[in-house]
Symmetry: C4
Subunit: 289 residues, 4 copies
């Protein structure tokens, strides 16, 4: 084993990081697309299934972040990367490379999800891949706006939702908050569950330019037609979940610093208390010591 | 404050323990009865609401155990107490006293739940408290069997469910498993969420003689009539969620010891590894260190 | 970065605390109002969506408490602040200032939620903002009683629910219980999930005078009319979720101390056990060491 | 007690391990089969109940892994064991023995579930045990493909789902990731909740040859007839949830190593940071220190 490791291991840190972002984003999109597929082509788009989608998507983010954390820092989202870029914690060239492999990972994740649900999609739409109508399945892969949503409303939705996401990513990963490493992917995932309960009704809360554009490109290539870019709305949608999250990512990162981060007292104002478990002197029959 | 504490504090450990069991069981029953009330008189008994009930009840157990853990060990259930009695970890007299205050706490919890939902119940049943029929509300407080359930089936249900519960309570509180104290009430609550997804369809998974009999007595006293004892089934039900859990509690405690507990290697076979957090040397832009 | 910090950081501890309460309460109300908005104007008020609302609201509380904890202690609720006031842990002037910024934060959170859901609300009600009727949307922002609920019943509901909340906030933050810092916002959020499963059916469990009055004032200002104060009930409702929670907050704080807190043994009765992870000597193929 | 332990304890490590796998798999199948039974014969197969099934099954895995972790490593699934076999962490003879007791445990778990739900199944199907049709109950115990699923699609589903599962089991149990022991069964269970939200619609995500074949054999023996092997599909199904997971288990184990594991930097590249809790100097009225 150790021999294989030595031969296989990518020596350059950047190479490992790009691999991590690729794998993490592929996992993320595989989860999100299959979760939505199940609701579109099998369970029906029952509104009550929202909680099932929200938890599936949130856990998908937790798993994608966890798997890539040690290699790349677990961004798996250009909106997260641009937030760190804005705060000077990521170099521009690295941001661009991350963005590229995130897109590639998202594309592969969508293809995997398609592989898993091809039988079901075929029976559902009779082989006629559609972006709009009652047998539309393009929404499995990329986001489309609800009928009530204007282009401006969509942009607001994506900016606010992504800023909210970055705001808490920065909180949970701020070393001064001392969240144990293992909790961070889970807490980021739970934040996205919250975002699902808040924003799902407008446009399916993509909040991630790679997660949205990669699968959209995939649907275009496999024959969903040009409607994947503009759907049936009076405006083109595809750029909204790209531009909105990128703006929201920068906004959320700054908001965290100016509203919270810069004001947290330095740790010298704190006293260190070593963690310890206290257990009462033995008493009979106690369940929780 | 410190002065009040000195004057108020119960000096005798047993007194504090009985107070803990009383408060914890009252909390438990307040949660369970209001959770079910909401589904019976307001949301309707929609089956899809099962997950809402399961989480509400499980969290109620977690909260009840947590609040009483330091004073009494957090049993809040005679079936749990009898399990510890069977293993020689609780004295018989203490078991009896625990049982009594658990019953009293359950009675008070039911009364509190009734206070909160009296308006809703009055509108729902027009002031006519019923145990059976489409306007029955007795099921808010105590358990009643589903129409398909025989007396024997009910006994099996309660024995298996409660043995399952004790089996995992002993696992989570076994010191050799090193579950941090703060996790134990939550894990016991999650075990009961699981039990809800497993057993709810038979008789509402009471698994607790105090939680069931206390509220049942309360409904009898406030005028639900003698049907609270035998309902409309061809057999009397009320003794099943008393006898079943007490048998299941003993069975589950022994099962844990004979199937798992006695076989866990002594800790001398283990090497001690001090917990530590590892953080990579600073890299730019990483979310999860 | 360090330079910006030095220039931006609020030097006075009270200033930082008020900022924390403002931001935390705004986050809280943004979450709660968007979660409810999604159910009112998009998913429909399907009862089965209760679990989705309960988790959304509970996670919103967890996030709001977490983000403000280091700056202000994470009250984000006058009922919580008055509880600490009653126990002598918060000065009266500080209580008043907290209350004011909590109200301001709640107002801003409601405005943000309105911004996000304006398109959807416009399509839903045709631009006719209503407090009652099938197209009413005022319930997105502030609480309104269910038809069955009397003024007295509403007061009982809010007192019991908020006392329950404070009871467990004090438990989870009691230093003697040694809950790790990072778990406390989550456990407080889970307590509120529980409260949602218990009390949602009466009046939507506001349990927070700022969270309720701030958004109510916002709806009054943007044109929902005077019905936001008294709705269609035979009594005025708006004061109930102010007075009830304030009473409940004081009651819950005292209840915790007298029923539990004062009776927890001093730590000198405990032996200190240093936390450690035990790992078995290497065995082949084991999943969980 | 100590005396009984000495007499009862299985002295040989392999014997204890086989006991652990037997008990853990029995627990797992008892949970999964009762969870599904509740939905099939009592709640109806309402699609909205998916979240209830997903959490029940995921928690069942968490409990089964937790209870057997110290004795056997908590595989309770031949697909997990074959993954460790492929990585050279389990000897072939041990793999075979694990597989056998996992099958036996699954059989016993199914029998227990049948005992608990016999009344309900009898009322539901009038005593006529059926594999297909509106009164079919065989799906309580073993998996059957959805009508849209081809044999190839089913194989893809089981390979991808199980590879996903192993991928994350290896992540969570990789010592270099320092997940605390107590979190590992829970995180493995949450991974399976995610798999439920992703794959449930195709064939009920068995992902475990023992969990599927043991109960299938049980249904054959108690009189469901030969249709349990091939159902009503144009192809035989029973071998798919055996072969698919075994392939997926090996694939997922290698994928983890080649895509992630081999690239994680050695710990010498990390600096050790001792975990500590920081608590601010006492300030008045703070909830979360």
């Amino acid at each position: 084993m150790e021999k294989i490791r030595t031969r296989v291991q990518i020596k350059h840190e950047l190479g490992r990081a790009l691999l991590g972002e690729f794998v993490g984003t592929a996992i993320l999109v595989l989860v999100i697309n299959t979760v939505v597929a199940q609701n579109v082509v099998i369970s029906g788009t029952s509104k009550n299934a929202l909680i099932n989608i929200n938890f599936g998507v949130g856990l998908g983010i937790a798993l994608g972040v966890a798997i890539s954390a040690k290699l790349s820092g677990g961004h798996i989202n250009p909106a997260v990367s641009i937030g760190f870029l804005a705060l000077g914690q990521l170099k521009p060239i690295r941001f661009l490379l991350y963005y590229l492999v995130q897109l590639a990972g998202a594309f592969v994740g969508a293809a995997l999800a398609y592989l898993v649900y091809r039988d079901a999609i075929n029976v559902f739409d009779g082989g006629n891949r559609a972006v709009v109508g009652s047998k539309a399945t393009a929404g499995i892969f990329a986001s489309y706006p609800a009928p009530h949503l204007s282009a401006f409303g969509g942009l607001v939705d994506q900016i606010v939702a992504t800023a909210f996401f970055l705001f808490f990513i920065l909180h949970f990963t701020d070393k001064r908050n001392h969240y144990p490493s293992w909790t961070q992917p889970l807490l980021i995932g739970l934040t996205f569950v919250t975002i699902g309960t808040m924003f799902a009704g407008n446009a399916g809360y993509p909040c991630n330019p790679a997660r949205d554009f990669g699968p959209r490109l995939f649907t275009f290539i496999i024959g969903y037609g040009t409607k994947v870019w503009c759907g049936d709305a009076s405006y083109c949608w595809f750029w909204v979940p790209i531009v909105g999250p990128l703006i929201g990512g920068v906004l959320g990162a700054y908001l965290y610093q100016f509203a919270i981060g810069y004001h947290i007292p330095a740790e010298t104002e704190y006293e260190v208390v070593v963690t310890r478990e206290l257990q009462p002197l033995t008493k009979e029959g106690e369940v929780v010591p």
